[in-house]
Subunit: 447 residues, 2 copies
């Protein structure tokens, strides 16, 4: 069978990539005719997602557990679909979760996804995914790839780098998989529940995901394998070895490849995601020219206090090109500095830009509207009543996954006290961005 027509190929990096591709053709373990082609392989991915989540101790299957209100599997799909050379992504879900999965694909605007029905075991689900990719399925839009990636729905942090490594190695060796060092020693128990022997930790590895295979290798292995394999097996690399006689290439993966298994893993995943989307903060200034603008002071202090975070500034003066660019760069944190006004005009313009951009479809966007006041000379008067409207704005934009808070920063004449106020303000901004908790939207905090 001919491989599928050319697809956007992996970025193999010019000549070195071409060499490898040529080398892998000549090493093609399927025995297919070695052609002197230099194009990258057509790649698809299969995700078994039929699990029940029993180890999690929660009723929802773990791939559907929410992280920042979005199901875990959506993060994994996002990680795969942003890799442009993965042409098709086939997800195997149980019949009862089919509608849930369709809803997720629609809500989070996932692309290139096909759904198949999961089997009762992991291997059967993968087999169903492979069958859908095989050319002999008449009712399918999918075409048979040269290489297929198999990944877990519950490993959301897979990077393009490791995907490329396993695909490249699979093209050369027929099969490849990510591995990690063992964290615990592995032992073999005897029948009476005592230690029989322990394995030398340095000589063993944990087999992780992603794995990749020449499609024909793994599809033939699944076609040949026994019911026992399909029922009790856990390891695709083992099938390639047993039925295709292929010793898979092992590729060292990063710690982030771990599998979300227990409730604590959900906590860890949430913290990692929160940390990642907190690494870029945009200070939106209501005026651009003045270098002594207090917004610039705040920007400097944020840069000092959050020294791992990229802090930039943009202005709302039309045509707002820099701000549009920052939104395109997926900045999820905005500090809208209002020096001259005590109203929501600037904030509303920012919120409208964010709403139009659809940025908050995947992650909650934090917007903090900052005002300056001298508490003694401007007590809680009409201006404050204006600001209390923030509750209504916050309620409205929360529906769009935008978390709006207000922050009042004292602006004393004394330079040292002002610095202290601004530092306190920066601490509150950092907390709101880090926690990203919808329970505090609409609050007016005071620094």
């Amino acid at each position: 069978m001919e491989p599928a027509p050319a697809a956007p190929g992996p970025r193999l990096g010019d000549s070195r990539g071409a060499e490898r591709a040529a080398a892998s053709s000549s090493l093609n373990p399927t025995g297919a005719e070695a052609q002197p082609r230099r194009r990258a392989p057509a790649v698809a991915a299969v995700l078994p997602a039929g699990g029940s989540g029993e180890r999690m101790g929660v009723p929802t299957p773990k791939q559907f557990c929410p992280i920042l209100e979005r199901p875990l599997i959506s993060y994994t799909l996002q990680a795969l679909e942003r890799v442009c050379w993965i042409k098709d992504i086939v997800v195997a879900v149980t019949g009862e979760n089919m509608d849930t999965m369709k809803g997720i694909i629609q809500k989070y605007q996932h692309q290139r996804i096909s759904l198949v029905e999961a089997g009762v075991t992991r291997h059967r689900s993968i087999f169903n995914g492979l069958k859908a990719l095989a050319e002999d399925q008449p009712d399918s839009n999918l075409s048979k790839p040269e290489v297929v990636i198999i990944h877990d729905a519950v490993r959301p942090f897979v990077e393009e780098d490791v995907l490329l490594k396993v695909v490249t190695a699979a093209k050369e060796h027929g099969a490849a998989g990510a591995i990690r060092p063992l964290v615990s020693t592995v032992i073999s128990p005897s029948a009476d529940g005592c230690l029989d022997h322990s394995l030398e930790r340095a000589r063993h590895r944990a087999s992780e995901m992603p794995q990749a295979f020449l499609f024909d290798v793994i599809y033939e292995a699944y076609q040949q394998c026994s019911d026992y394999d399909l029922e009790f097996g856990t390891e695709c690399l083992q099938l390639a070895l047993k039925y295709g006689h292929i010793n898979a290439k092992l590729v060292e993966g990063s710690p982030d490849l771990w599998k979300v298994t227990y409730k604590r893993d959900l906590y860890a995943a949430e913290s990692i995601i929160k940390e990642r989307i907190s690494q870029y903060i945009c200070i939106v200034m209501d005026t651009k020219e003045d270098e002594n603008h207090v917004g610039h002071h705040l920007e400097e202090i944020l840069k000092n206090e959050l020294n791992h975070v990229k802090v930039t500034s943009g202005a709302l003066c039309p045509p707002c090109r820099d701000l549009e660019q920052i939104i395109l760069e997926q900045c999820y944190n905005y500090v809208c500095v209002n020096v001259m006004s005590f109203d929501f005009e600037e904030t509303r313009r920012l919120l409208n830009m964010l709403k139009e951009s659809n940025l908050s479809v995947l992650y909650p966007v934090v917007v903090i509207s900052v005002y300056f006041l001298d508490y003694k000379s401007v007590p809680f008067d009409q201006k404050m009543e204006n600001l209390m409207q923030i509750r209504d704005y916050a309620k409205e934009v929360k529906k769009r996954n935008i978390l709006l808070c207000g922050l009042l920063i004292y602006y004393p004449q004394d330079e040292q006290k002002l610095q202290a106020s601004l530092r306190q303000g920066a601490t509150i901004i950092a907390t709101l961005i880090k926690e990203r908790n919808s329970g505090l939207v609409g609050q007016l905090l005071v620094a």
Copy 2:
């Protein structure tokens, strides 16, 4: 050598425990004379804590990484020392961390801890700990235990239950260790980095901690073992097998036994700890008698919204016995309801009780001081100026690890609107308790 004199023994549960103790005496694998004694064994614990934390990707060794500002190892020590039948806890730390460790013991008031110098490997550190427990150390206050627990400094969630299981099994079998099912398939690579074979997941287990040994068994094993074992070994059960010919009893552990290894594990540990200390909330009422008291409404709503959380109420009317009892029960969350007043008298009395109790030594205590106002008829006036003093109180008690916030809840005449206000207040209270972030102390939030 005679076992050490009787120590507070494990709660073996009356007759069944006595039977086991008798049985284990007769099965004593050290060959010591089987005595018809029914007392529980003297138990000590050894914690190797000499690791460098390289896998964590941070400069601080992982056992000293802070969780809610307290080092990880302090949580592990707390888990061991609350088990009254563990007589001594020997911690092996490197020379350069000796002072850090002494500071931790003093600051968090740890008891029954002895420090020894760590070796360059895990096995050498454990051996140093065992030497300190052996009776032939003339300058030691420690006495040789019958059973020794070996645990990791970076497994903070060990429960008394599993400690008792491994100790009981060690007394019977000579050695015992906690195990867990494998999360990933384990494979064996060939020399050229390809798959040689994969292990059947169901036939293997991950060896976790705690483990327990008859002291003589493990001490003799360490005395006999080779330099190679001490340098490259990772598994104490393996030493007991190799040198003591003892097949350790394997005890199924809970998922919480996992080892904090990567940065994500610190995130997970922090979330677990935050969740645990958020399970008990005390509503402190300023008046007890009135059943229509709005504090009771708030209590009901909190009970409904947080249905896994124990919500109770206490009063500050002297002699405050119920409140003292609640503090003794280690409640870390207080909602101080002020209906009649707009000052901090009640809150200050609560804060003083908390300070005297020393409750906040181990965990940050959240105190939320709640006031009710009708925004329209009581605009931000003198009363508000009073309440702004919360910033100063919050700053002061934060030094004592108490996180104080204020919460203003609208109190409209309309019953339905009041319910909405109270629900909003409950959401904010739940957020502050869950996040436990010191960045928001001193804020006056509005529901």
